[in-house]
Symmetry: C2
Subunit: 316 residues, 2 copies
Amino acid sequence: MNQIDSSIRASAPGTLMLLGEHAVLHGSRALVLAVDKRIRVELTPLDEPQLEIESALGQYRAPIDQRHADATFSFILAAFEHCYTAFAVEAGISPGTGVRLQVESDFSHLVGLGSSAAVTVATLAVLNRWLGQSPNSDQLFEQARAVMLRVQGRGSGADLAAAIEGGMVAYHQSGERQKLAPLPSIGLYYCGYKLKTPLVLERVAEAAEQLPLLYQHLYQLMAECAEQACEAAGQGDWTLLGRLMNYYQGLMDALGVNDAKLSQMIYQLRGDSLVQGAKISGSGLGDCVISLGQPQAVELPDRIPVQVASLGLRLD
Amino acid sequence: MNQIDSSIRASAPGTLMLLGEHAVLHGSRALVLAVDKRIRVELTPLDEPQLEIESALGQYRAPIDQRHADATFSFILAAFEHCYTAFAVEAGISPGTGVRLQVESDFSHLVGLGSSAAVTVATLAVLNRWLGQSPNSDQLFEQARAVMLRVQGRGSGADLAAAIEGGMVAYHQSGERQKLAPLPSIGLYYCGYKLKTPLVLERVAEAAEQLPLLYQHLYQLMAECAEQACEAAGQGDWTLLGRLMNYYQGLMDALGVNDAKLSQMIYQLRGDSLVQGAKISGSGLGDCVISLGQPQAVELPDRIPVQVASLGLRLD
């Protein structure tokens, strides 16, 4: 079959925040990690002018020139919009053809492993190849950021950077990113619920309005901590990085994004001798906590079995 | 009996920290409260050259000119030392006479209600009267601070200020203190264990050595928060004061003086609709948590039944 021969495959890793969430939106650097759970996207050219999307979350099918919105596939559709509009004519794509995008994921989109970032990056990669483009990683990052902003209006882009680069990345929202080695060993635990990041940001913004100076200075302190954490991470000084994680967690608590359950999990993890530090991963008020070092003696439910992995975006 | 006729009685309130602990040692203001549980000291002149101390904690008896150290009564003995050395000759105290000091307390010295401060202030008050001195509150505060420094080497003096003034006091370790109204309603809960303040300070100092700049800036932020809290407290804006307490608690967590149990109690208290804010009271790593507002729906064990009370040192 010609179509199978010409299919294009890409995959990108899930990502998670080690340190710097919230402050990264205010100009700080952040440490973000790519993990060994991935999202794969396969593009198959079709002989009919259709856009089809298939994943475990559902199906989408529309005439390629009459695409409709679909919340389930908002990132894929925005990525398609971005690339197809820009490059289809230039690539000489015949009006009578289309594509099928098949998505497979190693992890649920319900836990905070950056599924939107991974699927966006992998989708952009296969679309660029199909449309004859060979963007470098900076260009791909800018495409991905445009897609993210189109869908959700804001975001640091840190998860996009790690999905592209893999491993551990020191990221600034200017787009500047530095891949660091060695990679840390981590534990990741889901707390059982999750408030969507935009809602968390809204609550923080409300609190910040009431204490503007205290929040401004808090972000400055988070930025200082994140800067020291990037240095410690680059040197593989896990003891220092763990201390900085604990410190940052206190600042997250002051920010108002900690809660009883997250706090309980974090203190349990810190009680393990193999854990150098523990904190919320991500915007808070739910989702995951991350430990630097894998606990040995402490058993927490809902462990998400991930490890930091060096492999970023891969285009087959 | 002549001796009973000439006895002198004073009492001082227990105290607790509402906000500003740790930072007050670095030049910040603090909010400290006097409560309705008191320590009473009665001085009875004796016809023999003895110093006697009696309390629920034990007894002490020594020739007045051959006093020995006793850890149980270190603050009382230092207060005696301070006053007797300074004023006995001037007061014309006969070499053949002595005193008995009887101490009664409404609360255990094991919970963080500032028993040392209360007993120091009340003891100094009766000794001054016996020795013909009439110090004003500034002078008494300086005497009390000298006693405290003699016994434990350091301390902010905030609890001494509240034990003298009563009510809610905005305190600076320069000795500057401002009595505020109205008085807040509070809940106080003991966590079941307590690390002595000097040991807590030692641990914080160790952590600060490793992250000097982050700790310096953390203290600055605590000071800013405390300053806003003093203003909110003076205006009786409990909603704002509660928010500032929660914020300060996050900074205490970053400082490294929070733990699993304290955190759990604090988040339980914050879950009550009548609680405006909740945090550690005192140096942390044990002891008490304090809520602004008395919880209605949440039941925590080990409630210490205290209320803020306006009455400070009282000399009968």
